[in-house]
């Protein structure tokens, strides 16, 4: 980030920034008109971009700011591709990886090629696509604990497909898919690694 004259800072609000960010309390440095909020998870961004404006529509205090906020918030790979410019990034990492499309990234935000464009800019990295890569991993928020048997049956399908690719790392843009899949993989004795795309990028430039 520093390399590309981007000032990153962390606001004082809670991680999922419900109130303080939207209210402009995020810190004196933050300006809703020209700054960006970046998050490492398609679900969170979809919630704030796609659902806040609707949920806060009737609320005079927030309706305007929610609509503006929706245009300033980006999922991490969207930010790299559409704001920073993916061509500014190159890396090197010898690894065979597979990529998991997060449902909310894919269907709520329309993220499909962006993360792949990033991975392609890492020399030595080989991407093997998962069979049925647009099928949900089974996390689904409270669904994971309300219907755990179904949730892990879905994870098992995903892990079976991942295993078939013979890749070493499953990369994704969504921390919750990764937590769920990694947790299930460990329980079932899989040895592969599960990593957020930002981790892979960081390793590839270090």
């Amino acid at each position: 980030m520093a390399m590309h004259q981007i000032n990153a800072f962390m606001p004082d609000g809670p991680a999922s920034t419900h109130h303080s960010t939207i209210h402009g309390k995020a810190g004196s440095e933050f300006d809703l008109k020209q700054d960006y909020v970046v998050g490492p998870s398609g679900s969170c961004i979809a919630m704030m971009r796609n659902f806040y404006p609707g949920l806060l529509q009737a609320d005079q205090r927030y309706s305007q700011v929610a609509a503006e906020f929706a245009t300033r918030i980006f999922e991490f790979t969207e930010f790299i591709n559409n704001v920073v410019g993916v061509e500014k990034f190159t890396g090197k990492l010898n690894a065979v990886v597979s990529f998991h499309d997060s449902c909310h990234g894919l269907r709520e935000l329309g993220i499909k090629q962006g993360p792949r464009n990033i991975l392609r800019r890492i020399n030595g990295l080989k991407l093997i696509e998962l069979p049925y890569n647009e099928v949900c991993c089974g996390f689904g928020g409270t669904f994971a604990v309300k219907f755990p048997e179904i949730s892990v049956a879905m994870a098992d399908e995903k892990l079976k497909n991942f295993d078939q690719t013979k890749a070493d790392i499953l990369v994704s843009t969504d921390t919750s898919c990764l937590m769920h899949l990694h947790g299930r993989a460990k329980r079932k004795g899989f040895n592969q690694r599960f990593a957020h795309i930002a981790e892979i990028m960081a390793e590839s430039i270090s």
């Binding site: 609000g13 269907r107 689904g140 669904f143 049956a153 460990k186």
Partner: protein, 459 residues
């Protein structure tokens, strides 16, 4: 009406452990998903979907006018029209028609609405034999089961299971060749068609402009069921009406592709009333039963778009939840994503309180819906309603505190520190059983990202 969907949590647990069921479902649904995708390659799905959605929205928002127009036209064509507010009234009307015509045997083609009103068990109880003539439905009827899918009712069975069933029930030799099994079913069903006194069918579309009932199928059994007897009864939902005959040009292109990956189904029948004097065959008497059962209560609400559904089954095939538990787990004739909407909407939220939650909200259903229903957003909005009406004190307490925490950065950070410290103790892990019984949880770091960030170590 009390329905099984109330017990979803017990039902799905029984289904999900059946490995053979899951393997049958996985094979069949993924094949349907692949064929669907392949078949849409040669047409512009987004364009057709926009058209189909527009026509269905138009139809549903002018339902009253279109139904009157349909009724007028169909009456002119010689049909009898009956509006049934409830399943009871629909059943009573069909029984009355059967009794007046001294009917002993009915041949029936596929109709989800007849499943919805439990027509076949009702008629059997009254001593009228009703034979399902769609192969999948026939299999399910022989097995004394209910359909587990809205377009492929026996999707939960492998061909070996079907061979065993036929061997046991109709005495065929053990042979799981699909051609052989189909021929055997055909042999039995032909006799029934010849002997039957009445036919029952559903309808995929009702056309207001012409009064036609349109049926789309692959086996020819619907055509026979609707034309080989003297009396034909159509049982369908009020929402099936579309304005014009020419609207079919859109639906014919999306329906087969969405269901089975076919460009067009093998048969499309357009039924325009009883036989005329010049015609040599066809029924002498036609009745059209239009069921409401909760449908009209959705008009003008946020859920109105659910009535756009043309029952293609694509949302079931793509649904990873459906793929793992199968249709019977839903405890409703309408399973899968669309079923999780329709069931609570038609039978009451109290009858299916868990169904809207039984989804990871991945959105694949909405993505493939040929009439553009935002299925997963509808599920979310049903959740809102159910939670607002429910008095779960634990849930309320948790969310109230969640809200307080999210409003106060200090409190949020403090709770984070507590959670990280307490995560070492097994007592805390026990609270997380629904997670930890099935998966490991990540090790909590000793410092939060914020703490690391503030310490300046990141740069």
């Amino acid at each position: 009406m009390e329905i099984e969907a109330k017990h979803f949590k017990e039902l799905y647990k029984k289904q999900i452990v059946k490995d053979r069921l899951r393997s049958n479902l996985s094979k069949a649904t993924l094949q349907a998903v692949d064929s669907r995708e392949e078949s849409f390659k040669e047409v512009d799905f987004q364009f057709l979907r926009a058209q189909a959605k527009m026509i269905r929205e138009e139809s549903v928002s002018h339902l009253n006018e279109l139904l009157s127009e349909f009724e007028d036209q169909a009456r002119k064509n010689g049909c009898n029209i009956f509006y049934a507010q409830t399943p009871e009234k629909a059943r009573a009307y069909v029984l009355d028609v059967a009794v007046r015509n001294n009917v002993k045997l009915i041949v029936k083609s596929k109709s989800m609405v007849t499943e919805e009103i439990e027509l076949v068990p009702f008629l059997s109880e009254k001593g009228i034999e009703t034979v399902e003539t769609d192969l999948g439905e026939y299999i399910v009827q022989l097995a004394k089961e209910k359909p587990s899918h809205i377009t492929t009712p026996a999707i939960h069975k492998s061909r070996t299971e079907i061979a065993e069933l036929f061997h046991e029930k109709i005495g065929t030799e053990m042979n799981d060749d699909p051609k052989f099994l189909t021929a055997e079913a055909r042999r039995v069903l032909r006799e029934k068609f010849l002997a039957a006194d009445m036919g029952i069918s559903g309808a995929n579309f009702l056309i207001a402009e012409t009064g036609d009932a349109v049926i789309v199928e692959n086996e020819g059994n619907a055509r026979l069921s609707t034309s080989s007897t003297n009396v034909h009864v159509v049982v369908t939902g009020i929402e099936k009406v579309i304005p014009k005959f020419s609207d079919l040009r859109i639906f014919m292109r999306v329906l087969g592709r969405s269901s089975t990956g076919q460009k067009l189904t093998s048969y499309v029948s357009v039924l325009r009333g009883p036989r005329t004097e010049e015609e040599k065959d066809g029924p002498r008497e036609v009745h059209i039963v239009l069921l409401d059962n909760g449908r009209s209560s959705l008009l003008g609400t946020d859920h109105q778009e659910v009535l756009n559904c043309i029952r293609c089954g694509a949302c079931l095939n793509v649904c990873p939840v459906y793929r793992n538990i199968g249709g019977h787990a839903y405890g409703s004739v309408y399973p899968g994503p669309i079923g999780s909407l329709v069931t609570p909407m038609y039978f009451g939220e109290k009858n299916a309180p868990d169904l809207p939650f039984a989804s990871s909200l991945c959105g694949n259903c909405s993505e493939v819906c040929p009439v553009g229903i935002e299925i997963h957003h509808q599920l979310l909005s049903l959740r809102h309603e159910i939670v607002a009406a429910r008095k779960s004190r634990i849930e309320r307490f948790l969310f109230k505190n969640y809200r307080k925490t999210m409003l106060r950065p200090g409190r949020y950070q403090m709770i984070g520190r507590f959670a990280r410290a307490l995560s070492k103790f097994s007592v805390v892990r026990r609270i997380m059983k629904p997670w930890t019984d099935y998966r490991d949880i990540p090790e909590f770091p000793s410092q939060s990202f914020r703490e690391i960030y503030k310490s300046g170590k990141l740069n």
